[in-house]
Symmetry: C2
Subunit: 183 residues, 2 copies
DNA sequence: CATCATACGGAGTCGGCACTCCGGAACGCA
DNA sequence: TGCGTTCCGGAGTGCCGACTCCGTATGATG
């Protein structure tokens, strides 16, 4: 790959993460091209489909997020670790929003083995590990599943409201995720 | 107003509630016209703007919802009443989705006094009454506000997941809304 | 039943966006 | 430095959805 091509690809990806972070996969390709300082043609040469561009942007976010989650596994304070991760994932709305948009569309069997899906399930596994760790320590309600956590995060992510309000909502939800009285 | 015009207006409104209920204000005007069995022109004569059509559809939903909420105020079982309402509002996703879309767009000062806003705040008041009632009875955590409740409902509404999963999430959130241990 | 204001239908316009195409740079190797 | 290959830019295409326009139909009224 020629060096200018490589550079452009990166500029486009950065612009895409930026734009999708603001508008959640609704952002137009033209806008991305403009911010990247390249022509539309260039965007489409590197990412032949908008879908692919979204995926590429999302994979970046997810991988980074997965890394930080993994670092917490096995550390002390399982409850705190779980809650911190939960909060972070809600704030990482950009990535999640895009991911949500991505997963919404019906899985096409003709797809090549999907990077985005791989990244998503890696994250899911890491979150799952953190969750069971919290449960083993008796700091997270025992009957909660990764699915539950995901639904709740997904919900909070797509709530459009002041940061402050969402933070309050997160606290309430985390209370709901704490061990039940009877336990 | 001519009788056929009246009839058509109602058919369009019904179709609009149906379509927006499925797609959340993304549904196309053509689709609505088709389901109503009228031409597009007719839709636009009654509702000159898509925005107005959305509002009209939403006002219907909201008013009905407000009525059922009001009926619960002052009845027995404040905690149950509150929780039932919470669950219903989450399931009434269609109305809320549309409302969300509606409220998202910047309030235009040139708007006439807005039906939709009036309907929305009536609902909010009713929910507020139910909430304080539950709190007075010690069945809902004391520090929760109507805003909190709205954010949580809004979040759960826009979670896209199986009915079953969302129901579990609602249970968890309602646990978070129950009185704190220390209370 | 005649008349006309009121409605209707749907082809057509306009704008926006994903995606294509190709003439003209820019790279990198000898 | 010369040259073939790889890239780039951005005007152009096709599609889709909101909205308009006007010839035609139909309810109301005397």
């Amino acid at each position: 790959m020629r060096s200018d091509a490589q550079a452009n690809r990166e500029k486009v990806l950065a612009a895409a993460e930026e734009v999708f972070g603001e508008t959640g996969s609704t952002g137009s390709t033209e806008e991305i091209a403009r911010r990247a300082g390249v022509g539309i043609g260039t965007v489409f040469r590197h990412f032949p489909t908008k879908q692919l561009l979204v995926e590429a942007a999302v994979v970046g976010h997810l991988t980074r997020l997965t890394d930080t989650v993994r670092e917490r596994i096995g550390g002390g304070e399982p409850g705190t670790a779980f809650r911190a991760t939960f909060r972070e994932m809600v704030s990482d709305a950009p990535a999640k929003l895009a991911l949500v948009a991505l997963l919404e569309e019906p899985a096409d069997p003709t797809d090549a083995p999907d990077d985005a899906e791989a990244a998503a399930s890696a994250l899911r596994d890491a979150v799952g590990a953190l969750l069971s760790q919290g449960q083993d320590a008796g700091e997270v309600r025992a009957d909660a599943t990764v699915d539950d956590v995901y639904v709740l995060i997904g919900a909070l992510v797509s709530a459009q409201a002041d940061r402050t309000l969402v933070d309050r909502a997160v606290d309430i939800v985390l209370d709901g995720l704490s061990p039940r009285r009877s336990e």
